[in-house]
Symmetry: C2
Subunit: 355 residues, 2 copies
């Protein structure tokens, strides 16, 4: 049966009552253009505090979106407006995630942290420890997990739609410098992004979404990375490719690049059928199904990153309000960080790395 009836159903929802008040930390374009509208559209969330390096900028954005509190990073750490929020959403350069998560944990606030979780495994581990020590919920913001197309794909996989999975292909490429022309942007600076750029920022989608869809993790990886363009001189992975092993004989191959035509694609081929998400990772997620001689395509007219973020915010709020288990918790994110680190290590040492 094609999953068209109740395609958007929130099979994860456990409560419909209550509101979680968010402090949104880091006011880059993703927060202002996507996250704030998503929170405004969510059932269980409201934005109560905006946090930025500049109080002026925070105030300007807050006024535009009717958010009561606008504070600086310093004021956030000092506890200003800490009675006004229940949770924080951290959307800063990777290497700053830890400090805001730690402060939030100290104040007993729940933490929703953008992916990749942090710049290094060690810093991601410290984030998990801080949140566990403070006993606050921590979730990593993998918005694919609450995209309806991804959830329906996962159900189909669970129902055996493709039979035994044979191979997975993932690609995520985009022309970063055409999107953000600044050559000094943080995604090209290893002091702020961590191990690199294409794999950290883009390749993670293929890996994490496959983990979510199949419910299993790779056991070994071999990656190759190259950088030749001057703008990518400080990072190893202007371009990358990788192969992953799992405990069975599933074959997974991926490619990613921050300097290429935009394309997002995840394809799972099995003994009996195939599920493609194409496009996959940038707000529009089209489901392409085939089994034997039959083919079907499911396109969603109400697509976009804002819708995906709304679903993610409401999922997180639902978990906070009901206390139900969080799927993408800190340890889930930590597994990705270890896979990412292994990929960079593999590329540098030209060896397969066991996970």
């Amino acid at each position: 049966m094609l999953p068209l009836t109740d395609f958007d159903r929130r099979d994860w929802q456990t409560t419909t009552g209550g509101t979680v008040r968010f402090a949104l930390v880091g006011l880059g374009w993703w927060t202002t253009d996507v996250a704030i509208p998503a929170v405004a559209d969510a059932d269980l969330c409201e934005a109560s505090v905006l946090v930025s390096g500049s109080r002026h900028k925070a105030r300007r954005v807050a006024d535009r979106h009717d958010v009561p509190h606008a504070i600086t990073y310093e004021a956030f750490h000092e506890g200003e407006a800490s009675d006004a929020y229940d949770a924080v959403y951290v959307c800063t350069p990777n290497v700053h995630h830890l400090e805001y998560a730690e402060t939030a944990a100290e104040f007993g606030k729940a933490v929703l942290c953008e992916k990749p979780m942090e710049a290094t495994v060690e810093r991601a581990e410290r984030m998990v420890e801080a949140c566990e020590r403070a006993d606050v919920p921590l979730m990593i913001a993998y918005r694919m997990h609450t995209d309806p197309a991804v959830r329906r794909a996962r159900e189909l996989l669970g129902d055996g739609f493709i039979g035994d999975p044979v191979s997975v292909y993932g690609n995520h490429t985009q022309p970063l410098l055409e999107m953000i022309a600044d050559p000094d942007q943080w995604r090209l600076d290893p002091d702020r992004t961590g191990y690199g750029t294409s794999v950290m920022d883009l390749g993670i989608y293929s890996i994490n979404t496959t983990r979510f869809l199949l419910g299993r993790d790779p056991v070994a990886v071999r990656a190759r990375m190259t950088s030749t363009d001057e703008a990518f001189a400080d990072v190893p992975d202007e371009r990358s490719s990788a192969t992953f092993r799992f405990e069975d004989d599933l074959h997974m191959v991926t490619t990613s690049s921050q300097h290429a035509q935009n394309d997002t694609h995840l394809k799972l081929t099995g003994t009996e059928g195939q599920i493609e998400l194409h496009p996959a990772f940038q707000g529009t997620c089209t489901l392409r199904l085939s089994r034997g001689e039959l083919r079907a395509t499911v396109e969603h007219d109400d697509a976009g990153a804002e819708r995906e973020m709304r679903e993610e915010f409401d999922y997180f709020a639902d978990r906070i309000l009901s206390g139900a288990e969080i799927y993408a918790d800190g340890r889930h994110g930590l597994t990705d960080m270890r896979i990412l680190a292994a990929m960079y290590e593999s590329a540098e040492r030209d060896e397969r790395i066991e996970l």
Copy 2:
């Protein structure tokens, strides 16, 4: 400019006069259902001799298609009807290609040999030597080279449509045992197929078509192969994945399997655009183009393997009649054989193999 005007044009054609008479060797379903109708539809070809293990079968097929001569393999080797053909088309199990090519060469006939060229590199080398010694034309039957969609893709790549190539993804999967239910078929018998099945029979398409499209060859490969189903116990590659290096930093990844949902796909992503052939390799070749925010899909209503084979037969006949250079000559095929052998060696030794 989208290549829709004269999409099917034979930019390779050098002559329109003359006819090449073919002996078709091996009367499996591909010859009877695809190659014989393709020759009948071709401008420069005619089928004059059919060669099979059984004279009765050869006669039956010949009568159905109005082919004058029907002979056995033994009679072919003994020179029966050798005045009645100018060229042979060899479409037998891989390990028999050499013997028919050698006999044809001895009789001074041109040779069109199906891919993969032979069961091993050594036997493929002997084929090249036999044809060079006899000074007869040898072509390996890569029908993708004369598919209009592939030729137009090649022109677009040459014109810089995708910019600098960043990554290539190729997949070729099919459910072999659903297509041909016999577990004793030659494609699962290493004595007849050569090194294996999925990479020899399917993976070769991604590799060879990429070589043709980009005009360059990989310099190193790393492959992984697994077989778990009982039907694939004698071959190493029920499933396979591989990564290829080129002289620059192009990243190529491929997968193939004879035990999976049917899918054929070649995707070339560049700094400026992307060209996909999807489906790609089984007679229908749909061209999917993107560049920046623009997308276009070119589907061909007059598709099918027979059309591809017709173009290939006419290309080969054109070369024989005019003496013009053959693109996919024996040495071109030999390069593929060495790549295939390296992939099996890589998988067995778990090492990267330099080419």
